[in-house]
Assembly symmetry: C2
Homo-oligomer: 199 residues x 2
């Protein structure tokens, strides 16, 4: 069996959200699975000196027009969140906690968290909202709440993010196919070609 | 007749070069012409606080892999220039000088300058190389040389670049269709859809 595709994303990234709607089907079409790997863009920005898009003069306003237009172009539901961007530690920790128990459900949680934020305008920087989304998927709310405050889970998440940045991840989404890195929702066409063989 | 598409680009921009190979045919397919508008990315970077790609940690090395891969993906000849990025005042001035005389030939000059830099590895930050490329297209070398040192041409070019930035242009390529802005070679698919009607 061929190795999984690495799919790095931040829960506050519109382009990560859009790619998340496509990546599993794209991989499956070519006999691959996807390793979902949430990161924290704030940490990556420290490494590159980049800033969150909305803070960049001129480019920021453009981005706010580009996000929903890309969603319409790809036929994906999208609502610009009222609070944006947000810190995504709680969402990432919940994901990594659940992944160590049941990876398939962790991916379902990731998709549910993205939907909560980018469709239902739920602020998932609030740990209680993360707990609610997880509980709706059948997780035990108290267990999730405890996990979000667990020092080992925090450490695991930090280690996962640091490993991603050490790997060269600087944005979201960032997809690695057999060692070849692709940055951006707009590289999914190249990801697909690469899955048929390096070009 | 429908208005022209605005095509903003920097002569040192790989993605601008790639888009330049496609934009005229794309526009023509939908009954449009293209207004080529070279800018100076260095001036735009001052407005946004952004930095040239190769200077950005982590993202810079990725970009150097992405440039030729995008070229291969689109079937476009590309050689990473030995000196990169470069200041492109001379190229932009030659373009605007010729445009005020013969717009069609100015576009031919733009394409020839891009080919010189991104295929033949000619450093077009050197005014004499710009003169040579223009002369090969039939321009009088002494006239071009004089134009590059002409205060009015310098002023015209500066005014064109300032107007672009005031318009919201922050990167290369940057394409405006009926008031709708698109940034990046990887938005040409959306440009094409927009030419069939806003979505």
């Amino acid at each position: 069996m061929k190795p999984a595709i690495d799919f790095y994303f931040d829960f506050s990234s519109p382009y990560g959200y859009l790619a998340a709607q496509r990546i599993d089907a794209l991989a499956a079409k070519h006999g691959r699975t996807v390793a979902w790997r949430p990161i924290l863009l704030g940490v990556a920005f420290k490494a590159t000196g980049m800033a969150p898009l909305p803070q960049v003069p001129i480019k920021g306003p453009y981005s706010l027009r580009d996000f929903p237009r890309c969603a319409r172009f790809h036929g994906i539901a999208y609502r610009q969140p009222g609070v944006f961007p947000i810190p995504t530690q709680a969402a990432a920790r919940a994901f990594y906690w659940l992944r160590d128990r049941d990876e398939k459900r962790a991916v379902e949680l990731a998709k549910a968290l993205y939907k909560a934020y980018f469709v239902d305008d739920v602020n998932i920087s609030d740990a209680e909202n993360v707990v609610r989304v997880a509980a709706a998927l059948g997780c035990n709310a108290d267990e999730v709440r405890a996990a979000l405050n667990d020092a080992a889970i925090k450490e695991n998440t930090k280690a996962a993010v640091d490993a991603a940045i050490a790997e060269g991840v600087f944005g979201s989404p960032y997809i690695v196919v057999d060692g070849e890195p692709f940055w951006g929702m707009d590289r999914l066409d190249q990801v697909e070609r690469w899955l048929q063989g390096p070009f």
